[in-house]
C-alpha cells in the first residue's frame, strides 16, 4: 500500500462523515488523480471479507464501515440494538420522497391515498428525511437526508434505479383495467 493510501485510510478512520475525493486531495496535497489511484489500492486492501473494516463510497464521499460480519458483536459492544425495519407506510413514503423530492406531505398523501402524517414524522425522527423549506401554501417540503444515502449505501441519488422500471407491464395494466371494469359492472347490477 502506498503512503498516500495509508494517509487516506487514516483520514477516513478519523472522519465521522463520508469525505469527498476533492477534500482528500486538498488534505493530502495530492492531485485528484493520485487520490483516485490511492483509493483503488485501499479498496483492494479493504475489500469485503479481508479485514474488519471495509471501504465504502456513500453520500458523495468515502467512508470506512465495519464489516457486516462484525455487526452483532459491535451492537453488543456498543449496546446499540438494531432499529426496527421500515414499515410499509414508511417505505412507501420514503420512496415517494426519494423519487419526487422536494415534496410536500399532501402530495405524499395524494399518491398513497391515505394520510401520511405519522410515516413522515417517523422518517424525520429516524433522520432519513428532513424539511427543506415551505411550499407557497405553507406546507413543509421534504427531501432525503445525507444519512439516507449512507444507510442505503448510495454514493448519490442518481444511484436509485429509474422508477419507470417499477411500472407494470402492458399485460398487467390490461388485467388491472379489466378487473376494475368487472368490479364496476358487478356494482352496477341491482
Amino acid at each position: 500500500m502506498s503512503d498516500l493510501s495509508r494517509t487516506i485510510e487514516a483520514l477516513l478512520f478519523l472522519s465521522p462523515q463520508p469525505v469527498p475525493a476533492a477534500d482528500l486531495a486538498r488534505a493530502t496535497e495530492a492531485t485528484e488523480g493520485q487520490v483516485a489511484e490511492a483509493i483503488e489500492l485501499l479498496r483492494e486492501d479493504l475489500a469485503e471479507g479481508k479485514r474488519g473494516v471495509v471501504l465504502r463510497e456513500v453520500s458523495g464521499g468515502f467512508a470506512l464501515a465495519s464489516d457486516p460480519g462484525s455487526e452483532e458483536a459491535a451492537r453488543r459492544l456498543l449496546s446499540k440494538p438494531r432499529t426496527p425495519p421500515l414499515t410499509q407506510a414508511q417505505a412507501e413514503t420514503l420512496a415517494i420522497v426519494a423519487y419526487l423530492q422536494p415534496v410536500t406531505r399532501p402530495e405524499v398523501a395524494r399518491i398513497r391515498g391515505v394520510t401520511s402524517e405519522s410515516a413522515v414524522q417517523s422518517l424525520a425522527e429516524r433522520g432519513l428525511i428532513e424539511e427543506s423549506g415551505r411550499s407557497q401554501f405553507g406546507a413543509a417540503i421534504f427531501k432525503t437526508s445525507e444519512l439516507f444515502e449512507r444507510l442505503f449505501g448510495l454514493s448519490g441519488m442518481d444511484q436509485l434505479p429509474d422508477p419507470s422500471r417499477f411500472d407494470p407491464s402492458p399485460e398487467d395494466e390490461r388485467d388491472l383495467r379489466e378487473r376494475l371494469l368487472k368490479a364496476g359492472e358487478q356494482r352496477a347490477e341491482p
Partner: protein
C-alpha cells in the same frame, strides 16, 4: 329615470337591441347567460357614457347592480355542483382515472420494496458515529489552550479607555468675514434706527470688533449710516442714514 329608460343599444355577438330587451330575454332564458359575454355589455355601456358625456347616477347604479347580479348568476352556472361532477364522469372515465392513480401508487409501492430490501442489506455496515476527538476538531473553544496572557489584552484595552490629550489648535488663525459683519450691522439697523456700538458689539473679541468697525466704514461709504463720537475712544453712536443726514455727512 330608471334602467328601462336607458337608451343603450347593444350590438353584441349574441344579441343586438336595447339593453332592457337583453335583460328580458336573459331572464326568460331565451338567451343563454353562459354564452353571453357580459364584458361586451359593460364596454358598450362605457362607450354609451362617453358619447352622452354625462353620468346619470341612478341609472349607472342600477346598471351596476344588474351587471353584478348577472355576473354572480353566470359564475354560479359555470361552477359544477358536486353531484353534477359525479354525473359528468362516465364509468369508463372513472375507471381510467382510478387506474392512473393505482398505477402511480403501484410505482412507488414497488420502489418501496426495493428500498426496504436495500435498507436491510445495508444494515450490517456500521459507521463511526462518535464525533471527532475534541483536540482534532477545527473549532473547539473548550479544548483550546491559552496562548496569550490575559493581562496583555487588559493592558491593550486599558490604553483605549484613556482619553487622549486635547489637540493644540493655536496655530489655526480665526477668520472674520467682513461680509458677515456687514450683515450683522444691517440686521441691527433693521430692528432700530440707532444703536451704541459698545452695547451691541462690546462682547465680541477684538478681531471681530475691528472688522465690524471696518464694516461701519464700508456702510458709511455707501451712505447707509452715519455715526457720532463725542471724544476720542468714547462711545460710538451709530445711526441709520436719512437722505438728509447723508447729505450732511457727505
Amino acid at each position: 329615470m330608471a334602467i328601462a329608460d336607458l337608451d343603450l343599444d347593444l350590438d353584441l355577438e349574441l344579441f343586438a337591441g336595447p339593453f332592457d330587451l337583453l335583460m328580458a330575454v336573459v331572464l326568460r332564458e331565451e338567451v343563454s347567460l353562459l354564452d353571453l359575454q357580459l364584458g361586451e355589455v359593460v364596454v358598450a355601456y362605457v362607450e354609451h357614457l362617453e358619447r352622452e358625456g354625462e353620468l346619470e347616477l341612478e341609472v349607472a347604479t342600477e346598471f351596476l347592480v344588474l351587471i353584478a347580479a348577472l355576473l354572480e348568476l353566470k359564475s354560479r352556472l359555470m361552477l359544477p355542483g358536486p353531484e353534477e361532477e359525479l354525473d359528468d364522469l362516465s364509468p369508463e372515465e372513472a375507471i381510467e382515472e382510478l387506474l392512473a392513480r393505482m398505477l402511480e401508487y403501484r410505482r412507488y409501492s414497488e420502489a418501496s420494496k426495493l428500498l426496504s430490501d436495500r435498507f436491510e442489506s445495508q444494515r450490517g455496515y456500521l459507521y463511526r458515529s462518535a464525533p471527532l476527538p475534541a483536540e482534532l476538531r477545527r473549532v473547539a473553544v473548550d479544548a483550546a489552550t491559552a496562548v496569550y496572557d490575559p493581562d496583555a489584552l487588559g493592558a491593550a484595552l486599558g490604553d483605549l479607555l484613556t482619553e487622549p490629550p486635547d489637540v493644540d489648535i493655536s496655530h489655526i488663525r480665526p477668520t472674520v468675514s467682513l461680509e458677515r459683519r456687514l450683515r450683522a450691522l444691517r440686521d441691527v439697523l433693521r430692528s432700530r434706527p440707532s444703536f451704541d456700538f459698545d452695547e451691541e458689539f462690546g462682547g465680541e473679541d477684538r478681531l471681530t470688533q475691528a472688522v465690524t468697525v471696518f464694516g461701519l466704514l464700508e456702510l458709511y461709504r455707501k451712505g447707509e449710516i452715519t455715526w457720532e463720537q463725542d471724544r476720542s475712544c468714547g462711545p460710538i453712536r451709530v445711526k441709520k442714514a436719512t437722505p438728509d443726514a447723508i447729505h450732511k455727512g457727505a
